[in-house]
């Protein structure tokens, strides 16, 4: 069983095999993710009761928390892939890191803006420069931008892969800082509601749509990652026979 799994993993790392695999599997992730998000948004907007403190304003949680979670998850995926690519020189791993970056950046942006839209009516402010949670999430956005800018600065893809991989791996230090900032330091931002060791401090009727949204976003992330990877793999392999065969420039 284990050997079978290892063999499948090696096979998956081969670009032509992965290209076909992604093409077959991605749509399912897209459909499931889309359905979960539609259900979660409906539950969050229409079914969940209003909060005893924040009224209907708390419904921003259903778009804020999933994108904030994804902004960090995408970074961990990017950094892990960059690490594997750097150490084992696996081409596909670098392609994964490159493809995860713009997705992560877009969700970091979303987490920041939805957070501001939530902060204004509840806290009384859009932004506080002294708050560790807010600033570390902004640093995450700049890490994504820095990663993409660094890549663009290189002529050769191999060098871009290696240099940007170092930046991605080093930047992973920021992820636990974001998560624990609300515990280590005093912040305006409240502590975690779901990821506590004891029972979540959110009522079940409000939790279910949130979980639907979080799973939906995760599936959607895999879908978008695979779609990005399809293009990225073609580009990186364009000299290879399987790509030339695929596009019909060689018999």
């Amino acid at each position: 069983m284990w050997r079978l799994l290892v063999r499948w993993f090696h096979q998956l790392a081969s670009p032509p095999y992965f290209y076909r695999f992604a093409g077959r599997v991605a749509p399912w992730f897209g459909v499931v993710g889309g359905l979960l998000i539609v259900a979660g948004a409906y539950g969050g907007l229409a079914l969940a009761p209003a909060d005893y403190q924040q009224g209907d304003g708390f419904r921003i949680i259903y778009v804020h928390v999933p994108s904030a979670y994804l902004s960090m998850m995408a970074y961990v995926v990017m950094a892990s892939a960059a690490f594997v690519g750097f150490v084992w020189r696996i081409k596909l791993a670098h392609a994964v890191a490159v493809s995860a970056a713009p997705i992560g950046a877009s969700f970091t942006f979303l987490a920041l803006v939805t957070g501001m839209l939530w902060g204004k009516p509840m806290w009384g402010t859009y932004w506080q420069w002294a708050d560790a949670r807010l600033v570390s999430e902004l640093v995450l956005l700049f890490l994504y931008f820095g990663y993409m800018a660094l890549r663009a600065a290189f002529e050769e893809r191999d060098k871009a892969d290696r240099a940007s991989a170092l930046l991605a791996v080093v930047g992973v230090v920021n992820v636990p800082i974001i998560h624990y900032s609300v515990i280590w330091w005093s912040t305006l931002h409240q502590g975690p509601s779901i990821s506590k060791l004891d029972a979540p401090s959110i009522d079940a009727s409000m939790l279910v749509p949130l979980l639907l949204m979080i799973f939906g976003h995760t599936f959607l992330f895999v879908y978008v990652l695979f779609e990005r990877l399809k293009g990225e793999v073609l580009l990186r392999e364009r000299q290879a026979r399987w790509v030339r065969k695929l596009v019909g420039t060689t018999a």
Partner: protein, 62 residues
């Protein structure tokens, strides 16, 4: 319905947050698909437009 839309007075914050999320999600779905299609087309035609956009690979001399 109008009660739902008013979001208990927080409409000015709730709806922009949901609207922006929808835009980012849709862009995340559409852009990679378009990029994949364009890459396929370019490779087919043979004019390697992406050579300049993304870095050229070092060609292996057999």
């Amino acid at each position: 319905m109008s009660e739902f839309l008013s979001m208990g007075g927080y409409a000015a914050f709730v709806w922009p947050a949901y609207g922006l999320t929808l835009i980012v999600l849709v862009a995340n779905v559409l852009l990679p698909r378009r990029r994949h299609r364009r890459i396929l087309k370019q490779l087919r035609v043979g004019t390697d437009e992406f050579q300049s956009v993304s870095q050229p690979t070092v060609r292996h001399v057999p």
